[in-house]
Symmetry: none
Subunit: 127 residues, 4 copies
Amino acid sequence: MIRIDNSSAVPIYEQVKDGLRGLVTRKLLGPGDQVPPIRGLAELLVVNPNTIARAYRELILEGFLESRKGEGAFIARGAVSRASNGMESIRRRLVDHILLSRRAGLSWKDVQSAIQEAKEEDSNVEK
Amino acid sequence: MIRIDNSSAVPIYEQVKDGLRGLVTRKLLGPGDQVPPIRGLAELLVVNPNTIARAYRELILEGFLESRKGEGAFIARGAVSRASNGMESIRRRLVDHILLSRRAGLSWKDVQSAIQEAKEEDSNVEK
Amino acid sequence: MIRIDNSSAVPIYEQVKDGLRGLVTRKLLGPGDQVPPIRGLAELLVVNPNTIARAYRELILEGFLESRKGEGAFIARGAVSRASNGMESIRRRLVDHILLSRRAGLSWKDVQSAIQEAKEEDSNVEK
Amino acid sequence: MIRIDNSSAVPIYEQVKDGLRGLVTRKLLGPGDQVPPIRGLAELLVVNPNTIARAYRELILEGFLESRKGEGAFIARGAVSRASNGMESIRRRLVDHILLSRRAGLSWKDVQSAIQEAKEEDSNVEK
DNA sequence: GTGGTCTAGACCACC
DNA sequence: GTGGTCTAGACCACA
């Protein structure tokens, strides 16, 4: 459900947070649904459990997740709106990345070609 | 000629490297041309000389620059093709970032709006 | 395991790089093995941590080491062949130095006596 | 008559000094003979005149060369014995280089093969 | 705890 | 003047 890019500059715990938010905005998960246990998800994504724990911790602080002792973690009631707030920060990160690439000499044509390439690769992975 | 974003997650020395590569791809600098002295560029960009020295050092290891002790640093012969290779990897990094954002739930419309926003901010900084 | 000559013209960070490569060619370290933490090795060799960090950084750029943030640095998969390539370039450097000495008028007899002297000093330092 | 290796770790001015000493030990030049003017030699070896000037200056301080105003520089009377003293420092430099290579993991077998290779290349260039 | 970045400032070598 | 190395010490990110 969530894919991790180890070689990305974006920290893994952020990718995990983004991934969970994505599942909610894409309606694959909703308020009240249980998210995988830390250890299970860590095993699934082949990352350190501490990394998952950090992602969950921050999502809980943010009010996106709720943890119930002894039961696990669940999507919180206000998660849908909070997820779209999260989307905004993801968008902003992309804007910054584009600006940096520009500063490094990338032309707008290159930027457009990058989007085209991403679209093609994206549809390839579609299920 | 080179702009630095101190608050970026991308290290300053990488921004300097990208900036120099950009000057070559934009034909503002070519093989044999001398690049600014370390201390001068450091003063210009208001960063520590060590940081510039590191950028130059890595560009030398990469074969993009050549340095002659006591004379200065110069764009190497093979720099043009290396620079375009570098551009390609910057483009590729952007593709990956877009895919990551998509997986996190960002819509293509959001991606387009991000580009639009970047374009606006980019022209603001232009002098 | 690694010996450093502070008074040598060869920079310390190069000696550290050579030393690590040597440990691999001598099979004392292999792919996947963890190398000492930067600060630990710095203390051991009585040099500044930055100097060790630079050696590690360049070995990473070279593909000889891999680092995982918060975990440590490890010998990379392709390290063995890269190490022997490195040995080859060290050997080549020695050939060039000998030729240089010859051009400067050193006789082959002098060259042999130099090796003899090196052998003696080498065994003196051995523990 | 003198060959320069730009990529060597040995500074160019030292190579020039060594080269001149070599010409004397090989009896191609003797006391009273004039050495080339700084500018001419610099042009011949394609190096900065300052570099040649430094080599000559140090050889004069050492008593190996003598300069006569308006005439040029000449091999000094005591040059032959001083040249062999110089040979000793060249030999010592070689010993140090071998020790460093050893420390970097080079085996004695590799050292011997390096000498063999140097011998072959040396005879190729012989006139 | 790990590695990574940056600053500040000193010292050396070469031209 | 140029680049190159090293130290000292601070701060951040990640596990």
